[in-house]
Symmetry: C2
Subunit: 231 residues, 2 copies
Amino acid sequence: MPKAIKTKKSEETRRRIFDSALALFRKRGFDETTMRDIASEADVALGAAYYYFDSKDAIVMAFYQRTQDELVPLVTEALSHTHSFKQRLAAVIRIKLDYCAPNRRLMAALATHIDPRHPLSPFSEQTRAIRDADTHFFQRALEGSDVRVSEDLALHLPRLLWLYQMGLLLFWVYDRSPRQWRTTQLFEKTLSIVTKLVRFSSFPLLRPVRKTVAELLELIYGSQETSEALA
Amino acid sequence: MPKAIKTKKSEETRRRIFDSALALFRKRGFDETTMRDIASEADVALGAAYYYFDSKDAIVMAFYQRTQDELVPLVTEALSHTHSFKQRLAAVIRIKLDYCAPNRRLMAALATHIDPRHPLSPFSEQTRAIRDADTHFFQRALEGSDVRVSEDLALHLPRLLWLYQMGLLLFWVYDRSPRQWRTTQLFEKTLSIVTKLVRFSSFPLLRPVRKTVAELLELIYGSQETSEALA
DNA sequence: CAATGAAGTTGAACACGTTCAAAAGGAGGA
DNA sequence: TCCTCCTTTTGAACGTGTTCAACTTCATTG
């Protein structure tokens, strides 16, 4: 990875490589695009592509990062319009889906990675910053809304909502129905359910259930932290 | 793929390649083992490995198949001992975990694939036969047990239990805690919950909930069938 | 006993992602 | 002008999974 780059020229080159890569990924797909294609499209030698990006995957990582950066203002804007939790949750997810729509094919190639040790996995250490920022969207959707979240779930609920969104995204990525109408359906139906569950979740009566869920999640997330520490 | 093979010699060679591959996968891991290593270990030329197996992945597929075949009698035996649903469910899952234990590292390399289009994915068309056989285990666990399953869930419940088991397996595969005690904990805690949920699920009062769940599952599985048809 | 042809075997060759030593460029100073 | 040093650029080379045309083996047949 090149260190802090100042010179105009090299920034230009890096951008050209990145843009060429993305254009090719979109047109032909990730696996079908070779690093030689990318370099040639960007009018540089093969080695130059590797001078600016550690690997083919690193280009994708840059893409993840840019996506996340560009989503922030969009989500912020959307969240300023309503206090209804359901609408806020829907907005966060819909913005992401819409934004990703042109890259659906590319994302399908990437969603392959579930292994938390794979850099591109949504569960990896390398994507942690992006994941945290993403989870924060859901925290904000909750905080400014009309639902009250009981303390013992405050930590976990954003993560659960993030997981819900990842599942939806995964379904969408592989959804071959015309215009992905199945995803739309699944989204609508599950959104109501999730919203209701979130509302119910803070009922005093459900305290023992919350405790059980919290225990489970600590087991699961605790394990992740351990493996990250060991990695 | 070679057609029906009868000659002893070739069967011997195939087995030698398969065994060498598995030994190396276990010792060094999947990615770290090359086809040249396998061929050399089996004392054949590189091409011979490809004569018997279409690809490196195909060796893994053969491993999946053998695993499934060998599990059948073990599960059958275990299911003959009790009618308690909880114990039956636990037995099916525990047998699988125990059986897979020596291959945990190999399975971690494989669990990478979530893309239903990837041949090795547990959701792919290529693994359908194995998946169906596997799902059948849970159907049997239900059928011979002390729980009554309402008709509208009879179709889906085995699939849901299979999914539960896949999640557990996934967790196990990446569980770095000593002797995977976290998985054990997760197993115990979730088993109770799942068992209770299955019991509750047939309460007459919950009919509308069942209907909603069934609708969702049909949406999800229906989509899969569509994409398979298009594939 | 050849001759035939299917089954089995070989290793060179290909395209890929990636590495790396070497060359080229260019900014700043003597 | 020339030297120095860092950044940028180059393309050959490596190891990988995979393909393939050529070769060998060997049971069956005329």
